[in-house]
């Protein structure tokens, strides 16, 4: 079995590792991107980026930073998936993309019976879900759908917020009567949870939604459950946070971590030509970059990855939780947890490959961050 390639030709892993180390060491601004990997892989990759004076980004950074921007500009109330499932007497789904962000949404939240001691009856609303295919099959659970097209969600949420505050507001795409019923339903919640995916919303819409949630707490309890997408995106966010003090889109070029969501966006760095080397990591799924410019690339790729542009170096990595054990953010708990390999193979983990690349760097440094 071949585990490594240089310019598309099979190579020994050691040779590919040495080539990757050479490329990283000779680059002006290398970027570690994709970062679809477990905690150990992310930790190793971020330490490597620090060591070579590069930057780090994640394939889901746009959505993650959109939620984070709301928290770090205004305020946000959130809960865990289990607390939402057990305690919510009102579930308020908002917008499209929820199933894509959390495939187990129906089983783990909507169709799950709450704690009978805490919740007598549960109501479920879904505001502007988009097409029918956005809504899961939930068996017997009744969902009150309000509005359809998510394009107008920002204005609809603003109108809803005005209603809840007893202020006048203009018409929206959603009928007044339907919005009145929704606002009455939300206000009647004893413990309500708004569920959204920032992948399909803009930051102002998320901010308006979080404002509605905050306002509802003047009289009752309401909180939020942002869904964060796969590829261990929030797990990597956590590692980046504790290692550098910043989320992803952080660079180390000046000898200390600097965070700038614009400057260290890997797409911008590639398409502007600022970066001359990308270390692309996608261990969970065969995701490949789709930039519109050639850049020397080292790929640590799950099997089945089909690159539009051939990476200079490619090394096969195993999937956490399938080929090897790992720690990652567990969608069902919203916390980090251990996942054991379902079908252990000898495939190398991202942490192992990055560790070998780091060992092959000839700079003699070992201190992380």
């Amino acid at each position: 079995m071949v585990d490594a390639w240089i310019d598309g030709r099979p190579a020994a892993v050691d040779a590919a590792v040495a080539e990757a180390a050479n490329l990283l060491a000779s680059s002006r601004l290398p970027v570690v991107a994709g970062l679809g990997t477990d905690i150990a892989g992310a930790r190793a990759a971020i330490a490597l980026a620090e060591r070579v004076g590069g930057a780090v980004d994640h394939m889901h950074a746009d959505a993650l930073l959109r939620d984070l921007d709301v928290a770090r500009e205004t305020g946000m109330m959130v809960t865990t998936p289990n607390e939402a499932a057990l305690r919510a007497d009102t579930l308020w789904m908002v917008g499209p993309g929820l199933i894509a962000a959390w495939p187990d949404l129906a089983a783990r939240l909507i169709a799950r019976a709450p704690d009978p001691g805490l919740v007598v009856d549960r109501r479920i609303f879904w505001l502007c879900p988009g097409s029918k295919s956005e809504m899961p099959d939930v068996g017997g659970a009744r969902i009150d759908t309000v509005g359809r097209d998510p394009k107008h969600l920002g204005a609809v949420l603003a109108a809803l917020r005005a209603r809840l505050a007893g202020r006048r507001c203009g018409r929206t795409q959603v009928a007044d009567r339907a919005l009145d019923a929704l606002s009455a339903g939300l206000a009647a919640a004893r413990f309500g949870v708004a569920v959204w995916s920032a992948a399909d919303l803009d930051a102002l819409t998320v901010e308006m939604l979080c404002g509605v949630v905050n306002d509802l707490n003047a009289a009752t309890r309401f909180t939020g459950l942002p869904l964060a997408g796969g590829d261990n995106a929030t797990g990597v966010l956590q590692v980046c946070g504790w290692m550098t003090g910043f989320p992803m889109r952080t660079g180390f070029g000046r000898g200390f971590p600097e965070h700038d969501p614009w400057r260290f966006d890997v797409r911008r760095l590639v398409e502007s030509g600022e970066t001359d080397c990308v270390l692309w990591i996608s261990a969970y799924r065969p995701v490949v970059p789709n930039w519109n410019r050639e850049v020397p690339t080292i790929a640590l790729a799950a099997s089945g990855s089909e690159f539009g542009r051939l990476p200079h170096v490619r090394i096969a990595v195993g999937r956490p939780g399938i080929d090897h054990d790992g720690v990652e953010r567990i969608a069902a708990t919203g916390a980090l947890g251990c996942v054991e390999a379902r079908n252990p193979t000898g495939a190398m983990s991202v942490a192992q490959v990055v560790g070998r690349i780091a060992a092959a760097l000839a700079d003699g440094r070992t201190w992380p961050c």
């Binding site: 305020g75 109330m77 057990l86 946070g241 504790w242």
Partner: protein, 545 residues
């Protein structure tokens, strides 16, 4: 490897030592002076310097989901984006794991306890601790707002079940002890309570805060956990809350109990602004309760961020957020809140808070009963400790600082009338020997033969803040790690954990509980050996027998 620290003023209260002498280290332990003809492999001249054991911090929020959320929430407080205050060049409210370990080591600290970790988020906290270099660390696991414990109280199950559950939680999380935070308050907040006092009852579960604290205190004691139950009381920060703290102290009932950041409970309602210091009364109660220990949670002026698992309190505090942003989390049990805050010297309330902390330090007589903390970062960043030690050691310095604060605020406290000054021995007791004893770390906090060779050497500088800010030498496990206030060797410490005995029937019961409540196995949230990829990541601390 034989090391001699030569001719320093050795201060070791456990052995009644305060005099010029040597400290000898073989590998990772303190040893007796060898025969006169034995030459050490390395000698460090400590003449004119102070030699103490490595310092131990029992309460500092340095890891876990809430701390990390604060990092992510406050890019504006990162060292890359803020100018350092000139007096404290390393003083920032939030720092990465790597910076945290280095900054502690530079001040001569070798063991630090992160006191508030939700059991379901313990794995992240342990991974963060594993990335804090040089020093040893530990977590306390939070119980008391969780459905399982509240269920045990509701159904009137005995002390044995609580003790087994405590032991199970400690093993699952690899904790060193148990903390309770606003007992019942987070659960009540989910049921729309906006205030929760010691005798209020959690809806549905029928347990009062008093019931929860007493149940856990006894459960922790019965399990043989070395550290007593660590309590964050109800009503934090509210005028008149001294009554809550006094009631909690009275409820200790002769069994060991630790009250965290007592400063935040030292408030009366007297005076024109309805906010006054009740530190003198509180200190008197602590002086009379020998089983009770406290840490202070000193406020120091400047920008910081409050990070707390007291979600009810943080929800109520979010309107005071400065800068105006916040995060409130309804967790599986406690949850928490992140609210940035700026303590201002021209604020009446903040000035009273500053004075209450110092009054508690100075009016509690036994330095082994009161611990320095700032409840980092809630009262101030841990990097302000040296300034606090200086204030405790110098009444003139206190008077000078007081003169710059609002006179009406100072008038609501007794601080101006207190002349006590801490000695270096008292500082060593409060920062070394007493914390080691409180945590059950018998080979730390002193320089006796057999002790772990965690040693800090400071210049004997009359500017005590400067002295404690940057140690001249620091040894961890006998290795030199800091010289002249700079890290010279990067190493990985251990996480300390205690593993009390339990009736294994609790394991099956917890499996059934997790299956019924969450549809998940508890293995998913457990900290297991393979999760931390480093040999010797944990050190097991013996339990009381």
């Amino acid at each position: 490897m034989l090391t001699r620290i030569k001719g320093g003023r050795v201060i070791d209260p456990v052995h009644g030592r305060d005099g010029i002498g040597d400290v000898w280290i073989r590998d990772a332990r303190i040893v007796d002076a060898p025969a006169p003809d034995v030459e050490p492999d390395a000698t460090y001249d400590a003449a004119g310097r102070i030699v103490m054991a490595g310092a131990i911090d029992i309460h500092s929020h340095i890891a876990g989901e809430n701390v990390n959320a604060a990092r992510l929430l406050l890019p504006d407080q990162h060292r890359a984006t803020t100018a350092s205050p000139p007096a404290a060049p390393l003083s920032h409210a939030v720092s990465s794991t790597f910076e945290t370990g280095c900054r502690y080591a530079i001040m001569g600290f070798t063991t630090v306890v992160e006191p508030a970790i939700s059991p379901h988020a313990a794995l992240q906290a342990q991974l963060e601790l594993a990335d804090i270099p040089i020093i040893d660390k530990a977590i306390l696991a939070i119980l008391g707002n969780d459905d399982f414990l509240l269920g045990l109280i509701r159904s009137g199950e005995g002390a044995a079940a609580v003790s087994d559950y405590v032991a199970w939680t400690m093993e699952s999380t690899r904790a060193l002890g148990i903390k309770v935070i606003n007992a019942g308050g987070a659960a009540a907040f989910k049921a729309n309570a906006r205030a929760f006092a010691f005798d209020d009852v959690v809806p549905f579960y029928g347990a009062s805060s008093r019931d929860i604290v007493r149940t856990l205190q006894r459960g922790v004691h019965a399990a043989g956990v070395p550290h007593p139950l660590h309590v964050h009381c109800n009503n934090l920060g509210l005028p008149g809350n001294v009554e809550t703290a006094l009631a909690t102290i009275a409820a200790a009932d002769g069994l060991p109990l630790h009250l965290a950041h007592l400063q935040f409970y030292g408030y009366g309602k007297a005076g024109p602004r309805g906010f006054s210091s009740e530190a003198a009364r509180l200190a008197e109660a602590v002086n009379g309760a020998s089983g009770v220990t406290v840490d202070v949670g000193q406020v120091m002026f400047g920008q910081t961020v409050t990070v707390s698992s007291d979600v009810l309190r943080q929800f109520n505090a979010r309107r005071q957020a400065d800068p105006r942003k916040w995060l409130i989390v309804d967790g599986d049990a406690n949850g928490g809140g992140i609210v940035p805050y700026n303590y201002r010297p021209n604020s009446f309330h903040n000035a009273v808070q500053w004075a209450v902390g110092l009054e508690l330090f100075l009016l509690i007589r036994d330095p082994s009963q009161v611990f320095f903390t700032t409840d980092h970062p809630n009262g101030a960043p841990f990097t302000t400790y040296p300034d606090i030690f200086a204030l405790l050691m110098d009444r003139d310095l206190r008077a000078e600082k007081m003169s710059a604060l609002p006179a009406d605020a100072m008038g609501m406290t007794t601080l101006g009338s207190i002349t006590r000054e801490y000695s270096l021995t008292e500082i060593a007791t409060m920062t070394r020997s007493a914390p080691a004893r409180l945590l059950g770390l018998h080979d730390r906090g002193h320089l006796g033969v057999g002790a772990l060779a965690d040693v800090a050497v400071y210049a004997d500088d009359p500017d005590r803040a400067r002295m404690f800010r940057a140690a001249a030498l620091v040894f961890k496990d006998g290795e030199l790690v800091v010289r002249d206030g700079a890290v010279t060797r990067y190493r990985w410490g251990r996480a300390l954990t205690a593993r009390p005995e339990r009736d294994r029937a609790i394991d099956r019961r917890m499996n059934d509980y997790y299956d019924a409540r969450y549809g998940l196995p508890p293995e998913l949230i457990k900290v297991r050996d393979g999760c931390i990829d480093r040999a010797g990541a944990f050190e097991f601390v013996p339990c009381r027998t």
